[in-house]
Amino acid sequence: MMTATELPRTDETFIELENVTLTYGRADKQVTALGLTNLLVNQGDFVALVGPSGCGKSTILKLVTGLITASEGYVYVAGREVGATPIRVGMAFQNPTMLPWLTVRDNVMMPLKIVPPFRQEYGSKKKTEFRDRADALLKEVGLANFGDKHPWQLSGGMLQRASLCRALIHEPQLLLLDEPFGALDQFTREELWAVMQELWMKLKPTVLLVTHDLKEAGYLATRICVMRTRPGQIVDDAEVPFPRPRTIDMSYTPTFVSMTQRLRELIVAQRPVKETV
């Protein structure tokens, strides 16, 4: 397994974090969420961020969308500082956040209503082309006949599938996933990993996945970055060498198990030593 902490910047680079520091709060109670973080993500990469809770994994996602600004350092997306080049971003969270007053299809179509260039065409194409596109996507995630249902008529796993559709409908260049499968049971989760892999292989967006599940990271990601906490930093950055499409069976092979074990040790080792006074 190749371990690389410092990747060279190339034409392929899509996201670059350069010595990014992020601090919260006032001077006396300042919390450093991220300290001097460097990260390079290539176009079409699937990068998983793992680490103990509170290590600033979600913070990186917010920095990359420009929802928050770095205290120090630079965030580049698509070759320019974040926000300068408008790119299409899709997001999905642990909480599916569907709008309860809209049907599942209308929920999925929401980004088309907001994001240019679709926005301008929304009025004229809403009924036909966009609708077909939403239905096709829903079918791919196994929700073929659920477009007309309302979110509260669906189970948690189904909502999360719909949430993935909403994150992908506008063909985002960048897909940000913040523990999207965290609240699901193991079987549903494994099913959705397969769905996610298929969608990624087909649409090839650049993906940043925040997760606590090392098996999930190993199954989905092309690279896994391990973070440490206080201050948040990337301490390990490793390629995942398994061929695609990956299967659940693969996760029981010795190489896969030893990879997740190594990652687990890296995370566990950072547990704060309990002070006995």
Binding site: T97, M110, I114, Q153, M158, L176
Partner: protein, 257 residues
Amino acid sequence: MSPQARRKVWSAVLIVGFFVLWEALCWLFNVSDIIVPKPSQIIVTLVQRGPALWPHTLQTLYTTLVGFGFGIFIGIALGVLIGSSRLAYDVAYPLLVGFASIPKVAVVPIFVLWFGSGTVPAVLTAMIMCIFPIVVNVATGLATTEPELEDVMRALRATKLDILWNVGLPRTMPFFFASLKVAVTLAFVGTVISETVASNRGIGNVMMIASSNFDVPLVFAGLIILAFLGVALYAIFSLIESKITGWAHRKDEFAMG
């Protein structure tokens, strides 16, 4: 009989029973008309004086609805402003609470001073009575939008207006309609207060004159008319509410495992 039908029948029986009990107690204790008239007497008064009461009823209804309409308009505008801007919240909330605490009877003379007696002060009183609950509910609905949902929208580069229109306002609707049911009954209170103090038309004015003539059955007839109008408008807004915001009152039996 289905449980729902039985519930309806029982509630109807009990409501009618309330009036029957009232009638019976009046007979039993031989209560004078001048203290509490019997329901039967109120009905007789309503029928006999109906033609004279009708224009006053229309006047009160009209005044209330106009005031209510303005109240909705201003209430939504203020609610959106307060719910979406921190500064507006800090400035407007104390003012609004202070204003809502003022007894509205005290404000009517000021309106009369400005606009003369009659319909205008009644409309204004109805309006200020119903603004407060609308503002508070609209602002609350907007302020409780899930931050994650806002992140999704902002990552899509949605403008503030996009978020308000697609997320904020729809999710405020249940709060808004709940406040309308309260506001419409308050609007009646406002109208009648103003009519009692400064008008020569409307049910409030009729009740004022009737009580100074010790025509207590007519006073009660006025009360019944007001109560009926209030219930009718409440029911209408409940119906609109359930049609528009049905998603907020979902039934569990539709949910899937």
